[in-house]
């Protein structure tokens, strides 16, 4: 629970208070003008490169950009992106926007996509493995890391792809949740390549791109191929913003800003090393 009364007992979420205070200040100093409502964003407080409470993630930066364009400020509602995230944040009306979800996301109303990324193979540069295809015969022998979800019948697409090719015995799972008591828990799967725990990891692009840049051991990322396993297992995903079902007014407003600020958003994604596939 993220109610204000529980702040201090909950390591994962702390409701933003500054935004509300600021809004009050604005209301007080400009009584004759209707102050624009803050952009209320649902966000994970410890999940770089996407977001954190210090607002260092690229989703924090994109949220800021949008708010500035709308002449307002961001007000965060922090909640770990776990089971019940949408229900406890967006649906519970604690916030109005989730900055990144797949465009086909069913739990909310999505904007048109504003970027497209891909799963990538991460390897050590000095190994010169250059893995880029699920059909690379070496994958039958190499030690492979995949992101593990922890939900019935659910896996990251590379885990499904490898299983479909009979590659299971040499596959190690790394929880997408990780140990939440540590900083940026999803980075373990990239560190495992640097440390030689696995030879290659199949990682969602933004996570890979960012932690490769942070790694002391030089690492390389190659988009996986094919882009889709037939009949339909995609490795490339369109990413949109999400609002509550029925909130078409906000959706339309966000789409206008996404159009207007497309170049600046691209620059932010570049800065964070997000591997891109043309939309």
């Amino acid at each position: 629970m993220c109610s204000a009364s529980r702040v201090g007992t909950h390591p994962r979420c702390h409701p933003e208070r500054g935004g509300a205070l600021l809004l009050l200040l604005v209301l007080f100093t400009l009584p004759s003008l209707a102050a624009p409502a803050p952009l209320r964003v649902c966000s994970d407080p410890n999940n770089l490169p996407f977001s954190n409470q210090q607002e260092q993630g690229f989703e924090n930066r994109i949220a800021q950009l949008l708010a500035r364009d709308l002449g307002t400020k961001v007000e965060y509602f922090w909640w770990a992106q776990r089971r019940g995230f949408v229900r406890n944040t967006l649906t519970a009306n604690k916030c109005d926007v989730i900055v990144g979800v797949p465009s086909s996301f069913e739990l909310a109303l999505t904007t048109r996509p504003y970027y497209r990324s891909t799963y990538v193979f991460v390897t050590r540069k000095d190994r010169k493995l250059d893995v880029s295809s699920f059909d690379d015969p070496r994958l039958k022998k190499l030690k492979i890391g995949v992101q593990m979800i922890g939900d019935d019948y659910a896996s990251s697409p590379p885990a499904h792809a490898l299983a479909n090719r009979g590659i299971v015995r040499n596959v190690t799972g790394y929880s997408v949740y990780g140990d939440y008591t540590k900083e940026s828990p999803p980075k373990r799967i990239v560190e495992a390549v640097a440390a030689g725990e696995v030879d290659v990891s199949a990682v969602w692009g933004p996570t890979a791109g960012y932690f490769i840049r942070k790694s002391r051991v030089p690492l390389v990322a190659k988009p996986v191929s094919p882009e889709i396993d037939l009949p339909f297992l995609p490795f490339v995903f369109d990413i949109s913003m999400a609002v509550r079902r029925g909130d078409t007014a906000l959706r339309d407003k966000l789409e206008t800003v996404l159009d207007r600020r497309a170049d600046e958003i691209d620059a932010i994604l570049r800065e964070y090393g997000v591997p891109r596939v043309d939309l």
């Binding site: 994970d44 019940g84 229900r87 697409p157 929880s175 997408v176 339909f232």
Partner: protein, 611 residues
């Protein structure tokens, strides 16, 4: 309640011929007399003949009968049963825990945040004696799979023991509520939670973990009742040394024999996150000093990512109660495909099978079969379906193998329709009751099937992933719940009651020849234990998913207690306020429960009924 009348009359005739149908007796039956009629009997060690009017553990007794010898409330007067006391727990999540009564005090533990109330039954209305608040870590709520339930407290030697969602086992002085010890057994950061009721055998408290789908490694841990120190821990996966398998291990079937099967039946390393959690019910047989319990589903991978039997997930263990060393094991579901956890109750009964009295355990299993097994050896004596099953084709009694059905095998990217039962099984955790007076087991359960459709893009912690689109819906007949009266000797249903919603409450049987259960739309019900005829009902403020219990109050009178408070996996659509348009919410259960929001609202409340 609806009956298939013709069937009922027919079965009633059979039943009356087969069972002792004498007049209502006020005393408990002679439990040890051998039956010439083939009626199921309580085991010789049962204390049911000396009913003391208390309720010390959710299962009532070591044999897991949920039977009370109290008979003051019976068929002749049950229509006069009325509410005498109510008590709000103050919480909105699913309430799966029955109260306990020890002496003149009632104890009730709530779902997260796992508050324990001690109520003074001597005071009019049951005044609060003390309240214990463990203040579990709120982050545990994001880890639990299926609502933040707790399945009850247990009592022994002046101590009430509870488990918290964030993995603490806590002993309290039953008189004062003072914390005597508090032991942390697991870590929410590894996906572990605790939801089961502790089970106390002699000087040990037995506790297991939950979280199979999160990459948890399942275990059962024994703590010293006096100090809370860990005495032993038996893992469900891994090398024999970790599973507490040694020279005394004698599994009945060849498929369960061999060294380090907890490692060798998995891809390398996969056993380390293999599931097999222990979150259901434990039985104890004092004659053989064996504890018997089942393990949960394998995880966290899809079936095709974990080739092999995946031992010891979905398996039954019999262990020495003092050392934890396994004596036998039987894997109910090798390489589980459907999330059919093996954690249901084993009711310990003595049955006349083929003219020979056998010491058995009887398990209404999630996969849809009632297993009758020799509890000393692990041999399966029979396995008959108690609901509609097409996901498997029976149990081979020679090999012990559950026979798979190829075309019902779910695989991501493939469409598989009409898998019965659905993932929660024909019966989930909700405990059955047994009456030695009728020889019948009263099983409250589901009638659900599921479709497994293609792929669905989803998103967690910044990562898009792909999962199955699972949708559950009512099974044959269109109703979602059933109460089945089961004759374990002859392996057949004697009668069935159809219920609109899954019956998620479990049952209580009494010497008054009554069976009590609750419905998810909030009806507390009593039925005639012999015929299934509804003889009393009362509408509670929220749906009922906690097993009812009965006790003798300080005034010497019999009472029946129900806890209302809908939720759990089945009721998450109400307790979690899920959007009824999300068919795949609650792992597909929401699709089958879209109308529950119209039928009930949430809120925990105790109701005590008396004459």
């Amino acid at each position: 309640m609806q009956f298939v009348k013709a069937t009922l009359l027919l079965l009633l005739a059979v039943l009356l011929g087969a069972c002792d149908s004498g007049p209502q007796e006020k005393q408990a039956p002679d439990a040890t007399k051998a039956s010439a009629t083939g009626k199921a009997m309580l085991p010789a060690f049962s204390t049911a003949a000396n009913e003391d009017g208390q309720w010390l553990t959710p299962q009532k007794d070591y044999a897991n009968t949920r039977f009370s010898g109290l008979a003051e409330i019976n068929l002749s007067n049950v229509d006069q049963l009325k509410a005498v006391t109510t008590f709000s727990t103050g919480f909105l999540n699913g309430h799966e825990a029955p109260p306990l009564v020890i002496g003149d005090t009632m104890y009730l533990v709530t779902p997260f945040p796992n508050v324990l109330y001690a109520l003074d039954l001597k005071e009019p209305g049951g005044a609060t004696k003390w309240v214990y608040r463990p203040n579990p870590d709120p982050a545990a709520q994001g880890v639990a799979c299926c609502d933040v339930v707790n399945r009850g407290a247990s009592y022994a030697d002046g101590k009430v023991i509870i488990n918290t969602l964030d993995n603490h086992t806590i002993a309290l002085d039953a008189q004062t509520g003072k914390e005597l010890w508090n032991t942390k057994l697991g870590d929410i950061n590894r996906g572990e939670t605790m939801t089961m009721a502790p089970f106390i055998v002699k000087d040990k408290v037995l506790v297991g973990n939950s979280g199979g789908e999160m990459g948890v490694r399942g275990w059962l841990t024994a703590l010293d009742l006096q100090t809370g120190k860990i005495v032993w821990r038996a893992y469900s996966t891994g090398p024999d040394a970790d599973v507490l398998i040694g020279p005394g291990f004698k599994p009945f079937y060849r498929m369960d024999q061999g060294k380090d099967l907890g490692v060798r039946t998995w891809p390398p390393e996969a056993w380390k996150t293999g599931g097999g959690t222990v979150w259901g019910w434990i039985s104890y047989d004092p004659e053989t000093n064996l504890i018997i319990y089942g393990t949960g589903n394998p995880g966290p991978w899809n079936p095709e990512q974990r080739p092999g039997d995946n031992k010891w997930s979905c398996a039954l263990f019999a262990r020495d109660a003092d050392t934890g060393q396994a004596r036998w094991a039987y894997q109910l579901g090798p390489h589980d495909l459907f999330d059919y956890d093996g954690v249901n109750e084993s009711i310990l009964l003595d049955l006349n099978i083929g003219g020979k009295m056998r010491k058995t355990l009887v398990r209404p299993e999630r996969n849809g079969y009632v297993y009758v097994m020799d509890r000393t050896t692990g041999e399966v004596l029979s396995a008959k379906t108690f609901g509609y099953v097409n996901s498997t084709a029976g149990v081979d009694l020679k090999t012990g193998l559950l026979i798979p059905v190829k075309e019902k095998e779910p695989k991501v990217g493939k469409v598989v329709r009409d898998i019965c039962p659905a993932a929660p099984g024909t019966k989930d955790w909700q405990p059955s009751a047994f009456s030695p007076r009728t020889g019948l087991i009263y099983i409250t359960h589901q009638n659900l099937c599921m479709d497994f459709e293609g792929v669905e893009a989803n998103y967690i912690a910044g990562t898009p992933f792909v999962g199955a689109n699972v949708k559950m819906y009512p099974g044959p007949g269109g109703h979602r719940g059933e109460v089945t009266a089961w004759d374990p000797v002859n392996g057949r249903a004697v009668w069935k009651i159809k219920e609109h919603f899954p019956v998620w409450s479990g049952a209580l049987a009494t010497a008054g020849d009554l069976v009590f259960y609750g419905t998810m739309d909030g009806w507390a019900k009593a039925i005639d234990a012999r015929t299934g005829t509804e003889v009393w009902k009362f509408k509670t403020g929220s749906g009922i998913i906690a097993p009812p219990m009965t006790y003798r109050g300080p005034d010497g009178k019999q009472y029946v207690a129900f806890v209302a408070g809908v939720g759990g996996w089945a009721g998450a659509i109400v307790s979690g306020d899920l959007d009824e348009r999300d068919a795949t919410a609650a792992l597909g259960f929401a699709n089958a429960m879209q109308d529950l929001k119209k039928a009930t609202t949430r809120g925990g409340m105790l109701y005590v009924f008396g004459l």
